[in-house]
């Protein structure tokens, strides 16, 4: 956490979403296990809030899934990164 303390922009892995009920069991199991080595979108926002990050950019998205977060405790900006987005640091 110390490595990202007070940074202006944090681009972070938000891959570990909550699997939907409609998924096949095998796929559901894989997505559940992602939490062992990927952060969830909410983890990313919570890290950004705790580390006083200026902007948090969520990336590493699964196909067809829009990350949902509660950013009410975070005063910075949350960006859901898309291919070819350009984010200014200065």
């Amino acid at each position: 956490m110390q490595f990202v303390q007070d940074v202006d922009v944090l681009v972070i892995d938000a891959c570990a979403v909550t699997p939907g009920d409609d998924l096949a069991p095998a796929r559901r199991k894989i997505i559940q296990r992602l939490h062992e080595f990927h952060a969830s979108p909410q983890d990313c926002v919570d890290i950004a809030a705790a580390a006083n990050v200026g902007k948090v950019v969520l990336t590493h998205h699964l196909p067809g899934v829009m990350p949902e977060v509660d950013a009410s405790a975070y005063s910075g900006e949350v960006i859901i990164g898309n291919d070819l987005d350009v984010i200014d640091v200065i």
Partner: protein, 178 residues
């Protein structure tokens, strides 16, 4: 100028709208680092209007396939676009990846391409190094640092860029940081 262009915001499952992970960090005049080189990185660099031959610095966060499948394509694509040198930095395993994916398999074809007229340094002057957490270096006025992430079982790094008092971290893959 200090910015990051997201080239790939996807995951291993291929899809048309989100390519494998890759991002280009740029600062000042010509300062740059490509962070990760997933499948599609060459096409995405072109789509972003970047010159392939000008990409000379690469940082790889870890060796999972979705972060490096585009690396051999970039070695060849940048070379054919005129690149004459490249520095590649990553965690333990980076040098071995280059040796296995590029040097071992493509050396014979590279020698043929050199005979055809490609510049030798474009393939030979690729310096690849494994670095630990805590590594740091100045590059074109930007402080680069490697930091810890949690992505078992891989050796993996985050990279921090500090330029003119502002900073950016790209984590690569990581579980929730503690």
């Amino acid at each position: 100028m200090f910015q990051i262009t997201l080239l790939g915001t996807g995951s291993p499952s291929p899809n048309l709208t989100r390519h494998h992970p890759a991002a280009l960090v740029e600062w000042g005049v010509g300062g740059h680092m490509l962070v990760d080189a997933g499948d599609g990185v060459v096409g995405q660099l072109l789509a972003a209007g970047k010159s392939l031959g000008a990409i000379e610095n690469i940082a790889l966060t870890h060796m999972h396939w979705d972060h490096i499948l585009g690396y051999p394509a970039l070695v060849w694509g940048g070379w054919s676009a005129g690149r004459n040198r490249m520095d590649v930095t990553g965690p333990v395993g980076t040098g071995d990846m280059h040796h296995q994916l590029v040097e071992n398999y493509y050396r014979e074809q590279a020698e043929w391409a050199i005979d055809l007229g490609f510049s030798r340094p474009g393939f030979d002057a690729i310096a690849v190094r494994d670095v630990p957490v805590g590594w740091s270096e100045m590059l074109d006025g930007c402080l680069l640092e490697a930091g810890p992430v949690h992505h078992p079982p891989m050796d993996a790094l985050a990279f921090k860029f500090t330029y003119q008092g502002h900073n950016l971290v790209v984590t690569g893959d990581t579980g929730a940081l503690r």
